[in-house]
């Protein structure tokens, strides 16, 4: 570093005369900035990725300055969010720059496990971590018991195939347990056993004339959140909006109708609405059909002769009437559901008048009950009665996204005999057992029962789990009945956790591997839909990872496969490098980074390789795909499944579900019992023909209402990035954007009438207890909840995760109380879902 300008050492002279032109001093270390007014945003670049804060899975762009992520917006090419994000999008910046992120691998040094027992983690090298994991895996193979390895998946991208399918299957384990049934499986049950669609539906808000939202809050959570936020104002202007939710939510606050249903009685309310439509003769006849002579025979409590009715796009409406609807008069529905008779009639007539442009938006609140399967069907049946299913202004299925699939045949060639045999063994979540049909997509044991894995592990049934790898999951927080998970995890001898933060699940782990924050640092892709457009959107590392972390779904299996190869088991390495060779060059990956990109290219190639018409955006090659970050389909075609093309047994929209009848029959046959027995074992009350139609099941409440007099309502905060945003200070600062919530506290909403009876004042600390657990929160007196019910948003109550999330991480002291501790362990056995809604939890409230 030298003085480069001699004149730098020259003195400036005082001139003494103001008129003299001032000579600026000579600069050496500086140069003058090029002349432009110093104003405005500094240079940066918007880079595309995907937000996975909720299940909308928004294509986003992130503004990067000096290698740092500083702002978030929607992807400019998105036909779903028009370049906007919901509050979660912004909140996530505090996740990637979370001061409590793991920055190195660590291992447990305290062999004792349990909540509140310090794991005494110490940092270790990547090599030590991976060697230890590989050794443990080889032990299982040497002992001939690879099935005792389990992989548990939380939030994922579609690159999951690698860690979730290929890895366990080639290794020899059947146990890949997803978190899916924590979210939505009972909801999907509702649409599958009516219209043959096992997925979230899409909603045509632009064309709807009547929007019936049931058990969710579209402008806050569930589906297509930014699109819903954008459109709701116009929908309210143009159409009628009715919201069924036991507590006031954001959509109901703005809507024409709020139907505050008693938790768990959704089936009765839905049937009551159906009863009005049928008896009034105002169902949508172009879809459902009509009496042959045009005379309406649907009269309360009276059976109807099936042969007098000619159906069109549907199947079994008269049977349904006879079995389940005829006695559910609006009076009776009002009595059971707590929604007024007048309102039931008004909503039914309003919907009928708007038919077929009726959008029935069925959410988890009406489905994720202990007996929620039929309730979900009942609500979705209203889409059938109004002709709003798969129709303009209604609920829709999806356009195709032509990405490549996992090559299952090729996968099999890498399985040795041990793997082939053991990967077909029963799974640890006991799906398909007599009392757990989990009949996803019509198949006994076809779906996951995430919450029941805790039972399988604890009871060592079907066998012991000796090694568990979890990624981006936190079942000890996110599954109702947390105490059961704490016990189950404590009993597993060796746990590996791939995570960004030391979460509750991590506290039971033996090896912890720091991972990428998906929106900012990870490669992946997801498929999603909204506004009639299906979308494939990439997750991409828009910044260099802040710490020395790996990508869970791709780098971990790759690095592990190298270690297993060193130990004489090359199958996984061979499988990965062969199955995911670069689709353009055929090159095999030489390292984990290359592997990740090749895998992503393999799956998404049909969208950008130009070989076939993708029926969507035209993308010119891989670089273009990465620059845009996403692909849109053509608009979904209305009525794609009308004309007998529903994927049900009959091809029709089934009010009498032949599809369910077959599925239940198959399960019963497998266990050599009748269907009634299956329902009894599954904690359902239906017997006989009732089992095949949408009907009302009395809500199952866990606990004696004499001791626990309040029904507990759980729902999602609009600031929840699942359970992961609670270490973000902004979460608490803006918690009051959830109706009835107060910033910086875990608010239990209680009606002032009840509060007065209990001598509780606003802001009092209260203890809430159920048969599942107990904890402290703060009472907020609020008219948005019905007397006899109390409501609290899911999210707070972490005892780990970070300095902001937990009251005291070192002492495992929670901040607020986790709803999943209050909601006792239970599931919906037909779908395999966690049961957290429908008022299964009853509680008592005491002033502290």
């Amino acid at each position: 570093m030298k003085i480069k300008r001699r004149d730098f050492l020259k003195l400036s002279a005082a001139t003494g005369a103001a008129a003299t032109v001032f000579k600026k001093p000579v600069l050496n270390a500086f140069a003058e900035t090029k002349k432009k007014s110093v104003l405005g945003e500094r240079e940066g670049k918007w880079k595309p990725s995907t937000c996975q804060g909720c299940t909308t899975w928004c294509p986003v762009e992130i503004f990067v300055q000096d290698g740092r992520a500083v702002k978030v917006r929607g992807n400019r090419y998105s036909k779903q969010n028009d370049g906007k994000v919901c509050p979660r999008g912004h909140l996530s910046l505090q996740q990637v720059y979370d001061p409590d992120r793991l920055k190195v691998p660590m291992k447990r040094t305290n062999p004792q496990k349990g909540r509140g027992i310090d794991p005494q983690f110490v940092p270790i090298s990547w090599d030590e971590a991976l060697n230890t994991i590989a050794d443990k895996m080889m032990e299982l193979r040497h002992a001939g018991e690879p099935e005792k390895f389990a992989l548990m998946r939380g939030r994922y991208t579609y690159l999951r195939d690698i860690i979730y399918d290929v890895m366990p299957k080639v290794f020899g384990s059947p146990n890949n347990i997803s978190h899916s049934s924590t979210c939505a499986e009972a909801e999907k049950f509702g649409s599958f056993y009516t219209e043959g669609y096992w997925a979230y539906r899409d909603y045509d808000l632009d064309k709807t004339k009547y929007l019936l939202v049931w058990g969710c809050d579209p402008v806050s959570s569930n589906r297509m959140v930014p699109a819903s936020i954008k459109k709701l104002g116009d929908v309210i202007d143009r159409a009628t909006v009715a919201v069924v939710d036991p507590k006031m939510n954001n959509t109901s606050a703005k809507a024409h109708e709020w139907l505050p249903v008693l938790p768990g009685t959704d089936g009765a309310l839905a049937l009551g609405i159906a009863h009005v439509m049928l008896t009034e003769g105002i169902w949508y006849k172009d879809f459902v059909g009509d009496f042959k002579d045009g005379k309406n025979r649907f009269k309360a409590a009276q059976e109807v002769d099936e042969t007098t009715f000619q159906e069109k796009e549907s199947h079994g409406v008269v049977k349904w009437w006879n079995i389940a609807v005829k006695d559910m008069t609006p009076q009776k529905a009002a009595e059971l559901s707590g929604v007024s008779f007048d309102q039931i009639v008004r909503v039914a007539k309003g919907m009928a008048k708007a038919a077929p442009n009726v959008c029935v938006w069925m959410g988890p609140g009406c489905a994720m009950h202990v007996r929620g399967g039929y309730s979900a069907m009942a609500v979705h049946a209203l889409a059938g009665l109004t002709g709003g299913t798969d129709n303009e202004g209604g609920s829709l299925q999806t356009a195709k996204i032509p990405v490549n699939k996992l090559d299952k045949d090729l996968l099999k060639t890498f399985q040795d005999d041990l793997a082939k045999k053991h990967s077909k063994m029963k799974k640890i979540d006991q799906r398909g057992y007599l009392n757990l049909p989990a009949i996803s997509k019509g198949k006994s044991g076809g779906g996951v029962a995430t919450n029941n894995a805790a039972n399988g592990i604890l009871n060592k049934d079907p066998y012991e789990i000796k090694m568990l790898v979890g990624y981006m999951n936190n079942f000890a927080f996110s599954c109702n009945g947390t105490e059961r998970w704490e016990k189950a995890l404590s009993s597993v001898p060796f746990i590996v956790h791939l995570t960004t933060n030391a979460s509750e699940f991590t506290q039971f782990a033996d090896i912890v591997l720091p991972c990428v924050v998906n929106k900012y640092e990870k490669y992946g892709f997801v498929k999603t839909k909204a506004n009639r457009y299906a979308t494939c959107t990439l997750l991409q590392p828009v910044i260099e990872p802040v710490w020395d972390v790996i990508t869970d779904e791709t780098e971990f299996p790759f690095l592990l496969s190298e270690k297993l190869k060193e130990r004489g088991f090359p199958n996984l390495y061979d499988a990965l490098t062969t199955m995911y060779a670069d689709p353009e060059t055929g090159r095999k990956a030489k390292n984990a980074k290359e592997f990740t990109e090749y895998a992503l290219k393999y799956y998404t190639a049909p969208l950008w390789d130009g070989k076939k018409d993708s029926h969507g955006d035209k993308i010119n090659g891989w670089e273009d795909m990465k620059n845009r970050g996403m692909w849109n389909s053509e608009a979904y075609k209305y009525k794609s499944h009308w004309g007998g093309k529903y994927k049900t047994k009959t091809g029709k929209f089934e009010f009498y579900s032949e599809t369910l009848k077959k599925a239940l029959g198959g399960h019963a046959e497998k266990h050599n019992v009748d269907i009634d027995k299956v329902l009894e074992e599954s904690n359902y009350t239906a017997r006989g023909e009732m089992a095949f139609v949408p009907h009302y099941e009395p809500p199952h409440r866990n606990g004696d209402m004499k001791k626990y007099p309040f029904v507990f309502i759980d729902y999602k905060s609009r600031l929840n990035r699942e359970g992961r945003s609670q270490n973000c200070p902004w979460y608490y600062e803006f918690k009051h954007v959830d109706p009835g919530d107060v910033s910086h506290q875990d608010s239990l909403k209680i009606n002032p009438v009840d509060a007065q009876k209990l001598g509780i004042k606003d802001g009092d600390k209260v203890r809430i207890s159920s048969i599942g657990g107990s904890g402290e929160c703060v009472a907020h007196l609020w008219e948005g909840v019905r007397p006899g019910t109390v409501a609290k948003a899911y999210g707070q109550g972490h005892w780990a995760y970070g300095r902001t999330a937990a009251a005291d991480y070192a002492k495992a002291k929670e901040r607020g109380i986790n709803n999943n501790t209050i909601i006792p362990w239970d599931i919906d056995r037909l779908s395999g879902s966690n049961a957290r809604n429908g008022g299964q939890a009853v509680v008592k409230i005491e002033k502290v």
Partner: protein, 225 residues
């Protein structure tokens, strides 16, 4: 000395002191009469530093280029531990690290003044910071000459922020490190001269306590916003 001349001399002095922290070039220093100029400036505006300035002059006469180079490297360059790290952030950010937060902030101040760093050193290097302050004083001289009172006020505010938050807080420790870190008379005298010269500067607006020679890093917290 009137106000304008004082400002100008302060500007000159800071620029020459900055020059002393570059790689030593005794020929250039001699040709440009650097030490003599420093002495003259000190005589005008900072009599306390006169002795140190003479010492610098003598030391420069009596040191070989190699001695100077070795001493300079040991103090400021490495490759081993720097005896007196010339980077502000080393002192201002608690864990000794270059390109810390305070660095980002000084860059912003430079940018505001219409400057960008034009040498390959982090922006909180001593030569850059001293030159920046010199530059601000030069601009003030100009503004005073033109009787632009708003501009003068603005520049004084900038000087105040820069001195109080970024430059002065780390000077005592840096100067101390220099004194402990070398036996070379030129750099010992330079440390002394710099210390006295800075003492002589006034921070505009007396409502906030100014720099104290033996003060601790009382402004360190303020750099952290």
């Amino acid at each position: 000395m009137n106000e304008i001349e004082t400002k100008l001399q302060q500007s000159n002095g800071l620029r020459l002191l900055a020059a002393c922290f570059y790689e030593p070039d005794p020929t250039l220093f001699e040709e440009e009469k650097m030490c003599r100029n420093i002495s003259a400036i000190c005589a005008d505006i900072c009599p306390q530093a006169c002795a140190a300035a003479s010492d610098m002059y003598l030391a420069l006469q009596n040191s070989s280029l190699q001695d100077l180079q070795i001493a300079h490297a040991e103090l400021f360059l490495g490759p081993f531990e720097l005896k007196a790290s010339p980077y502000g952030s080393t002192y201002l950010e608690k864990a000794r690290r270059i390109m810390g937060d305070s660095t980002m902030q000084v860059v912003q101040l430079y940018r505001k003044a219409g400057l960008e760093v034009d040498i390959k050193e982090p922006p909180d290097h001593i030569v850059i910071e001293l030159e920046f302050l010199s530059y601000l004083f030069a601009l003030e001289t100009e503004a005073l000459q033109n009787s632009e009172s708003t501009q003068v006020a603005k520049l004084r505010a900038e000087q105040k922020v820069f001195q109080e938050r970024y430059l002065l807080p780390w000077m005592p420790e840096f100067i101390e490190n220099m004194k402990k870190g070398t036996e070379n008379n030129f750099y010992l005298a330079l440390a002394d001269c710099l210390e006295k010269f800075l003492c002589q500067l006034t921070v505009p607006d007396q409502s906030i306590p100014t720099y104290e020679c033996n003060g601790t890093q009382k402004y360190a917290a303020a750099t952290a916003y």
